[in-house]
Symmetry: C2
DNA sequence: ATTATTCATTGACTTTTAGTCAAATATTAC
DNA sequence: GTAATATTTGACTAAAAGTCAATGAATAAT
């Protein structure tokens, strides 16, 4: 990495860090781009070098921690399906907690918007989660843990709705539940009945 | 109702109708207050007579159809718990569908925000759903359908997360599922396992 | 019936902020 | 050493949120 790339990366990170802190504290709508750049110690114009629109920083803020989870799951291919899913739910909820309610609510909004496709080349949005969960199910199908005729796509939709439901609920309750305990309860009650029908 | 009250109600309704149509069509962020007032045929200033902030209209837009559901459920007190819940889920999803993805996504965002308390006196936000579901459970407890020691509040949180999960999922899939069929599948798989432990 | 008061309505105005862009500066390539 | 390229900058523009004093019609008071 040369000096230019390093500088660019540093500036980008400064913006993301400043953005995360400010959004956590005050919420996305209550801050403006200059608040972020001031806190990051760069000029306003630099923001738009890295993000096309104000909102685009949110996906980057939230994708950072979520990105790590994907790797982990690759190293868990031998685990049982429900264990892998539960792990995913746990880690997802940890991210939700560390990002805080204000980040999550903006992120949820962005993720729901079919038109909101940021133009950085790795901007895959929620499909990221979807594809990850789907591949977990597909692994289980080829393992023989799930029946061959399991409708992986439909099941993924149902499972991801549990995931987002869990997050939404946690945010709505204003963080009053201990997130890991909550997740544990959730997975225990919810995941098995969904899969039951398709388990070998 | 005198002429003044009538005029006020008419203006408010015009704004809500115009707002709903525009948000459905273009999304909340893509329209401005003047678009709404122009379509409603009133002056810009009138908007702020009825809504303190631009966003406040969204809760009113979405609350209108949701409000009706509450009444219906009052007339279903004798039905079985799961039937009542399923009915609620169905009607909720009908509202989601008729409001459309753009309204829902803004609504979800507003509902997630603990600070977003509109100052019209009946602005109860999502607690509306919460209290309604909770009272359904409480009815079932006093009916004897659920055990006396059922943790109504916790269960309500879990059930409402299913509801929002369902909606979020439907929005994310860009409305590709037929909503009622989707709801049916959802309730069938999800509701009973949640309640099982507490049913008498 | 007349006058005073109240309140919805208006649109020009202020303020805020998202987003642009040309110039300056630093780095890399040739 | 010079040309090409990329990052950084902040003044500037454009757009839209939100304000407010003036207007006039409806209602209440005398």
């Amino acid at each position: 990495m040369n000096k230019r790339q390093l500088s660019a990366q540093t500036t980008r990170r400064k913006l993301i860090t400043a953005g995360l802190e400010l959004i956590k504290e005050k919420g996305f709508d209550a801050i403006n781009v200059e608040d972020i750049t001031r806190k990051a110690g760069v000029a306003k114009g630099s923001f738009y070098t890295y993000f096309k629109r104000k909102e685009d920083i949110v996906l980057d803020i939230s994708r950072a921690p979520f990105g790590e989870i994907a790797e982990e799951l690759q190293n868990m291919k031998k685990m049982e399906l429900i264990e892998r899913l539960t792990h995913y739910f746990h880690r997802f909820m940890e991210c939700v907690e560390s990002c805080g309610i204000n980040v999550c609510r903006q992120w949820t909004k962005d993720v729901l918007d079919p038109n909101n496709v940021p133009d950085n080349k790795d901007g895959q949005k929620w499909k990221y989660d979807f594809e990850m969960l789907k591949s977990i199910l597909e692994d289980a199908i080829s393992n023989g843990e799930l029946k061959k005729d399991t409708p992986a796509e439909l099941l993924t939709h149902i499972i991801i709705s549990e995931l987002y439901g869990m997050m939404t609920c946690w945010c709505m309750s204003d963080g009053k539940f201990e997130p890991l305990e909550w997740t544990h309860k959730f997975c225990k009650i919810q995941l098995r009945p969904i899969l039951q029908k398709y388990l070998n």
